[in-house]
């Protein structure tokens, strides 16, 4: 039994936003797979909740006339894995979603919940960071669009302001069209585990075998998921080859802010950053087309 003082099931986005406006203390519960565990552990109790599971529009994954992809905050990880739109346009999201928990968890856990609880190990975050995702946050005073990169403040803390509801995650066509991408999760177990490190890479290659653009994001390499700007600035205009890719991997460490934790040492995490950035970039190059790496 969880200590829930008050629970209201919102039937629409408007109703949810009104409930939050009336009482900004109200907690939004999405899939519940993180929140209910926190409640069981006593980290949260005697809460007032608003449920948003029955708001079907929040679960949609679609593309508009400008080819902007919108992922509803309540899309589950299995929704992402199964979505043809995701597989065909942003397959890195399906790849990242597949690494979350096990089948039963993927059926419940939502991408919006994964972002809003602010865990550094959120598997959806690195992939969405390299896709330059923007978040649509709705409150009674209107819509606020926030780049995901600015949404993370510190571990467990995101810039979700009182009264705000995350409704959609938006990805523009400039950020996925003609890109190859890859997400690698390093964890002791193949399923049902948290990442020791998560690496997402996307890249665009010019037909001449020259890097046009590389984007790299890391999970669990710092207090929040982060982008590796120093490493990203290096490749444009350089040839796609082993030594350039090796250098990009080494540069990625410069943005990482790994520290010792119970799960892995700083040195080990940094070693993983170098190695997995290179591996993910090679797959991303393969998928971007024109280059073949084994």
């Amino acid at each position: 039994m969880y200590l829930i003082d008050d629970y209201i099931e919102a039937d629409s986005v408007d109703e949810a936003v009104n409930l939050l406006a009336d009482n900004p203390e109200r907690l939004i519960i999405a899939g519940g797979t993180d929140l209910l565990i926190k409640m069981r552990d006593g980290i949260l109790e005697n809460v007032q909740m608003v449920g948003i599971r029955r708001i079907e529009p929040l679960r949609k994954i679609e593309k508009d006339e400008q080819n902007v992809i919108s992922i509803g905050a309540m899309a589950t990880f299995n929704d992402l894995v199964r979505s043809e739109l995701v597989q065909n346009n942003i397959p890195i999201m399906a790849e990242a979603a597949m690494t979350v928990g096990g089948p039963q968890i993927r059926e419940m856990a939502t991408v919006g919940g994964n972002l809003c609880n602010g865990m550094p190990s959120a598997d959806s975050a690195p992939a969405l960071l390299v896709l330059n995702a923007r978040l649509k946050l709705l409150s009674k005073s209107g819509v606020r669009l926030a780049p995901l990169q600015e949404f993370y403040l510190r571990p467990g803390k995101v810039d979700l302001r009182p009264g705000e509801l995350l409704t959609e995650i938006l990805i523009s066509k400039e950020d996925y069209l003609n890109f190859g991408g890859c997400y690698i999760k390093f964890a002791p177990r193949k399923a049902m585990d948290l990442a020791i490190l998560g690496v997402a890479v996307t890249c665009r290659i010019r037909v001449t075998g020259i890097f046009d653009l590389v984007r790299i994001a890391l999970g669990v390499a710092g207090p929040t998921p982060l982008r590796c700007e120093i490493a990203e600035n290096f490749p444009p205009g350089k040839p796609v080859n082993d030594s350039i890719i090796a250098e990009i991997g080494r540069l990625a460490v410069k943005s990482s802010r790994a520290r010792d934790s119970q799960r892995a040492s700083k040195e080990f995490r940094e070693h993983l950053v170098v190695e997995l950035t290179q591996r993910a970039l090679k797959s991303a190059c393969n998928r971007a087309g024109g280059i073949s790496y084994d």
Binding site: D6, G101, G102, P103, I105
Partner: protein, 163 residues
């Protein structure tokens, strides 16, 4: 806070008044006395509490009772029809996939969901689909065999079952 829910459990319509903080697992075990569904970890890691919700395998320990309103739930008690065990249940028996039995209802429920999709799976796919379940006794081999047997085409094979 008391909430009223209407739902179907193993084909029977139910109307209950529950506490907003109760999990579906607690409702199934303590209110409906269907104790086939087990609580192992209570945090979504072991799969012992798995039930079908509108045909999908879900951990009932992380599922609020209020969410079950209007849904159709099937627990391990609801799989046998007219006193005859389901194909999945028979496969678990014939393959010796049960030792202490604590994990079994969960595995059987997930296997039933896989079976209703109606196509067979490779060994790797079976393992991926079962990744949300722990078994501390069997070493999994016979469970995987049982699940594969459950997914064999009903018309294929002449071995019959050994129950």
């Amino acid at each position: 806070m008391i909430k009223k829910i209407n739902f179907t459990v193993n084909g029977k319509k139910r109307e209950l008044e529950i506490n907003a903080g109760e999990t579906l697992l607690e409702i199934i075990r303590k209110r409906l006395h269907l104790t086939g569904t087990k609580e192992g970890c209570g945090v979504g890691e072991c799969g012992a509490c798995t039930v079908l919700i509108d045909g999908t395998a879900i951990n009932s320990c992380l599922y609020l009772g209020v969410w079950a309103d209007g849904r159709e739930i099937v627990t391990v008690e609801g799989l046998a029809k007219d006193g005859e065990l389901s194909k999945v249940q028979k496969a678990f028996i014939s393959e010796g996939a049960v030792q202490c039995g604590f994990c079994t209802p969960g595995f059987v429920i997930t296997a039933s969901a896989l079976q209703s999709r109606g196509h067979s799976l490779t060994d790797i796919e079976v393992k991926e689909e079962l990744a949300g379940h722990f078994c501390r006794c069997t070493g999994y081999q016979n469970i995987i065999k049982a699940v594969k047997k459950s997914l064999e085409n009903e018309t294929a094979g002449t071995g019959g079952d050994h129950t």
